[in-house]
């Protein structure tokens, strides 16, 4: 029954009593348990807790104190702390870690009456693009179970794309929301850095990480973004803005909207079929009144290499706390150093170790200037370049991903190729910009994402533009025989 309904539709039916919250939750929990298509999207689900939350939401609905998302089921990426159950971050090391506190976004969702139904699979600590770096197995794409759902928020993307839940939370450090959203044919939104509190997000790269929503419509994404955003006195890098407002969501016509397409994101890295679909979508937007010009952003070329110095450097420091002493699993050694080494050696995955080593190297005395400091300078220049473009255009556009969903197992290809997949998404993280992936058609029968990036703080106008584009471009749906639930 609920299947492909959007969150706003479900919320409406809950408010009109056409649907009971406990009933909806039970149904959702059943689908999580069934795991249609063997997607592997969920790592855990606390049935009792979810049903308790549903009863509470029903009381809000009955009392007439319900908000726009009260009673709506929510899946949460398992690197976001939820006080009940475990928060594994996709790692063996945190297999038994129970957070004593809720992340700020979770507090806000609970306050809004949302019902947390489960924690979703991810690449270990968010490090990866295909969800194959999860210690608990990959996530399959609802469009075709042989294909990856993308990463690192693969579970959250697949759960929404398959119709298991209408909304989910992910985190985006270099594209980890937008990339899987594109591969799964749904909306994924990374808000401006500092508009959503990171408190309670297991840190990967603190200057890049941002929590954001997955949804089946721009409106749903905006509703969840509105719910989780806003100042948090317990985070020191919040911007002072109020929550992302919903006010003008439907009031931004496409006519006159100025789009900039960086030629650096239109090269041979982009699969021809993707490029074709993307260009068709752009021409439809132009017909609807947008303008689109090619622009030159030379520093974007260095985005991936800059990212792969800054993100691992910060990660090497953020992950230093995983020593097995205060929480998580431990492998005992003869002394402190041996315990730390054994714990990390045995319980951290290959990709995580690779990045810790790379980051440690980039920060080491003697290499710091050549790598870390230089990467920070490139980051600054790239941001200046993008700021200039965004002063003249409303949005920077590109395909979200240069490829369509690829077979599970092929990601073991070559590390460098895999890392180039983040080419189009990384710049928004380096500059702290809000960025969204919107389904814009199919290529080779698989979804293609349109990447939209706006100036920092312009989350509302980005969402409004995306809403209008969605009216024009429509949405895509996985074939029902592939595992997607209707």
């Amino acid at each position: 029954m609920p299947g492909w309904a959007t969150a706003s539709e479900l919320a409406g039916r809950l408010r009109s009593r056409e649907l009971g919250c406990v009933e909806l939750t039970r149904e959702t929990l059943n689908r999580i348990e069934e795991d249609p298509g063997g997607l592997g999207a969920f790592l855990s689900s606390d049935r009792g807790e979810a049903l308790r939350a549903a009863e509470e939401a029903q009381r809000m609905l009955d009392a007439g104190t319900a908000g726009p998302l009260t009673g709506v089921p929510l899946a949460v990426k398992d690197n976001i702390c939820v006080a009940e159950g475990v928060t594994t971050a996709g790692s063996r090391l945190l297999e038994n870690f129970v957070s004593p506190y809720d992340a700020t976004v979770i507090e806000k969702c609970r306050e809004a009456g949302m019902v947390i139904v489960g924690k979703t699979n991810l690449d270990e600590f968010g490090m990866g693009s295909s969800n194959e770096n999860s210690a608990f197995g990959p996530v399959r794409n609802p469009w075709n179970p042989a294909l990856t759902a993308g990463g690192s928020s693969g579970g959250s993307a697949a759960a929404v794309a398959a119709g298991i839940v209408p909304l989910s939370l992910g985190s985006d450090t270099g594209g980890s929301i937008r990339f899987p959203a594109a591969l799964c044919g749904i909306v994924g939104f990374k808000p401006t850095y500092g508009r959503v509190s990171r408190r309670g997000l297991v840190a990967f790269a603190s200057s890049l990480d941002q929590i954001g929503p997955f949804a089946r419509s721009v409106e749903d994404a905006a509703l969840l973004a509105h719910t989780i955003s806003g100042d948090d006195p317990r985070e020191a890098r919040m911007r002072t803005e109020a929550p992302i407002s919903l006010g003008g969501l439907r009031d931004r016509p496409l006519s006159g909207l100025r789009l900039a397409w960086p030629q650096q994101l239109a090269g041979p890295e982009v699969q021809p079929s993707i490029r074709a679909t993307f260009e068709v979508a752009i021409s439809r937007l132009i017909e609807a009144g947008c303008t689109c010009e090619e622009v030159d952003l030379p520093m974007i070329r260095h985005g991936v290499s800059t990212y792969y110095i800054i993100a691992p450097s910060e990660a090497s420091s953020n992950l230093a706390r995983y020593d097995g002493i205060r929480f998580g699993r431990q492998v005992e050694g003869t002394d402190h150093v041996a315990t730390v080494a054994k714990t990390r050696g045995a319980l951290l995955g290959h990709e995580v170790k690779l990045r810790i080593i790379a980051g440690t190297y980039a920060l080491s005395a003697g290499y710091h200037d050549a790598y870390f400091a230089k990467a920070q300078r490139v980051r600054q220049r790239m941001t200046l370049e993008m700021d200039e473009v965004l002063a003249q255009y409303d949005l920077i556009v590109s395909p979200t991903s240069p490829v369509v969903a690829f077979p599970i197992g092929s990601a073991e290809m070559d590390h460098l190729t895999l890392k180039q997949l983040d080419l189009c998404t990384i710049p928004a993280n380096l500059g702290g910009y809000p960025s969204l992936s919107l389904p814009c058609g199919l290529a080779e029968g698989l979804p293609v994402g349109l990447g939209l990036t706006a100036q920092r703080g312009m989350d509302e106008s980005l969402l409004a533009a995306a809403w209008s584009m969605e009216q024009e471009l429509g949405s895509v749906m996985p074939p029902s025989d592939a595992g997607g639930v209707r």
């Binding site: 976001i80 870690f97 200057s207 420091s317 402190h336 920060l363």
Partner: protein, 487 residues
Amino acid sequence: MARYRTSVGIEVHAELSTRSKMFCRCPVEFGGEPNSRVCPVCLGLPGALPVPNRSAVDLAVRAALALDCTIARESVFHRKSYFYPDLPKGYQTTQFGETNPIGYGGGMEIEADEGGVKRIRIRRVHLEEDTGKLIHGIEGGTGIDYNRAGVPLLEIVTDFPPDITSATEARRYVQKLRDLLVWIGVTHGKMEQGGLRCEPNVSIRPEGNDSLGTKTELKNLNSTRSLQVGIEFEVARQARLLESGRPVVQETRGWDEQTESSYAMRAKEDEDDYRYFVCPDLSPMQFDDAYLEHVRATLPKLPDTVRERFVNEYGLAERDADRMIADRAWAVWFDACVALSGSPKAVLNWMISDFAKLLNESGQAVPGGEGEPTLVTPEHLVELTRLIADEKLGGKAAKSVFAETFRTGEPPGEVVTRLGLAQVSDPEEIASLVQAILGENRPLVEEFRAGKSQVLGFLVGLAMQRTNGRVHASLFQEELLRRLTED
């Protein structure tokens, strides 16, 4: 044996007297159950984020200003990475770099060994967080107490090449620095509780040689005395090495309080590469003129300035002035007495004798000091000194009056009246007292007249006894003599 010159650089860590920790709201206290003051932030749990404690930043700026530093316009926190069980996050949040610390390029004057004053240049004053503490012998193993983890620390580092050239100067520097920081309310400065820690680095070089020798760093010094003894020990140890033709090894050495000797802890080569980088969880701190003006305005007059005023305006001896500025509340109280037009000398004498003794015995203190506030007010003490100056109260009775005021808070004048302790100095009263004493002690009068002059003292004593010490001794003696020699 060749003559050597000593150079000492010092790092001081002072716990800031904030109510809560540097990056979370856990309270800052001493002692208590292990791990009773911890939270996800100071335990470094996944997802926890730091929020800087505004009042710790204010105190650090305050200290930097008092130490004559330039304040950085923009100051950031760095992460210093190393693995140690007492370090929850695998890095310490601190401040790194030459012009980034909250304050830099400052200095403080101390008394030089050769006499006169000497400026000890201060290279940097910065903020950081403390680590936890290992507790050995818990169920046969080692436990970790994180109560101290995240407590705000102020680090103060002397400049290079060092200005301090002896163990005694080092001790004077730390003592004065401690007093200054306590004075401006930045730290409680309790070395024995680890609230103030100092780590000197010591090197010697043969006289006439310009380049500094290899230095060793000393840790675990928990008093200014151990600081001095420790440095003296290091200087002697290094001299012995050089005399015997062996090199001084650059290393960190621990101080053993029991044996009063140092031992090797860790060689320079073993030191980590700390991989400093700007902490991405924190925004830069910006200090504008208005803010600095505000902090400057709330800074009290510094001890050196107050001391100078006590000497120049109040005519205090240098040594007495030093005693009066040992503690700010004490100096403020003294000043308040003088402002009530008390005589500085008389007030001082009472403060350093009876008052200090009574406060000490009762564990009380003047307001703002450490301990239960005393009931004695500056008005009380000034009133007491006036009663004495006006010869309305004798010295011995004054002590009892003060003790009573101290005990009850009753003004001295009222105590005098209530207990009838007013001095007997009325000529008629004295004359009749002399009359009575002489009448009762005829034989003694004869003795006096026969030349036994010590009888006089005995007779005065009798008068004192009879009046409970209230009789004005010299007036009585005068009258007594007149009567004895008259006929």
